[in-house]
Symmetry: C3
Subunit: 131 residues, 3 copies
């Protein structure tokens, strides 16, 4: 297992970690198999989406804020219930196929760490297994 450390800078932010995940796959020397990417935080998540126009991630973040407002009267008293809800909507793990030691992604796909309650120090775990 590899661990990627991320320092986020905003409350809501998507950070492209595709290259870091590829590096972890390289270091784990799995030629063919699958790669599990896991977010160990309950107010963040992981998603795969467009890596070209940065407006796409901006639209996803702002629409999630509209669907799950920060300032609703929630039960949880820490002021980040919206972050927990977004985490469950987006999900906390991904799996990607590996061929020839490379992640098999579509042309326009990037892997994003989704911060919903930053800024914080975060980790992402990566495990490649062969098959």
């Amino acid at each position: 297992m590899s661990t990627l450390h991320i320092q986020t800078k905003k409350r809501s932010e998507f950070i492209d970690i595709t290259r870091d995940i590829q590096k972890a796959v390289n270091s784990q020397k799995i030629n063919e198999g699958i790669c599990v990417v896991f977010c160990p935080h309950t107010t963040a998540g992981l998603t795969i989406n467009e890596n070209a126009d940065p407006c796409v991630k901006k639209d996803i973040i702002s629409h999630l804020e509209e669907l799950v407002p920060e300032d609703k009267p929630y039960s949880h008293s820490e002021g980040n219930s919206d972050s927990h809800i977004k985490s469950s909507l987006v999900g906390s793990s991904l799996n990607i196929i590996i061929e020839n030691n490379q992640l098999v992604l579509g042309t326009w796909q990037g892997i994003y760490f989704c911060e919903f309650d930053g800024p914080r120090s975060r980790n992402v775990f990566i495990k490649a297994i062969g098959g």
Copy 2:
């Protein structure tokens, strides 16, 4: 593969199954690898979220009810279209990394079975594979 049996008690309910998944991983004797947790029902799901303050799961459940109301005029006539939609939003499978025969979870993470159309008798399938 191990099967976990769950009896839910309410229409919408999140049940912490972290210990049961860990037991299944122990019994499958996989030291390093990944664990797939799978929900074979179309009106329930699985998520990972906070295991400390029970208000968090309460907030997730009630916000999902707001986003996907039970009583909208849906096409499906069984009165549980909202449950099917929530199932697709939350997702029906999880994958978690295993190290030293232990699930690698964050400090505040618990694994939840998400009932959206209970009370019912439910199953969860668990498969650990090494790598």
Copy 3:
């Protein structure tokens, strides 16, 4: 890895690909393990939901359209920001347990390719690994 080619016909459409995924698992000759199904597109996704009443998929599609309207003033200028957002909500990968060379699915579960920006030619990648 196997590749499944799909030609979608509508802007939003769910296509049952359960049999195709099972065929890929058969051809990869994995008796016990897990199957990763991956969508390499950023305006489409994958989900598991009811395979009996077609009204269920109709309700999911139309409720997603309500939650994420097509015609909002988004930043991304291609007119498909809603499709990208739906892709992140539904997710782009699935994992399913394999036993006796068969996908282990619930009685009412089908695997759906979710088109959110069709009609288009699409691919789905399938990788079974043993364990």
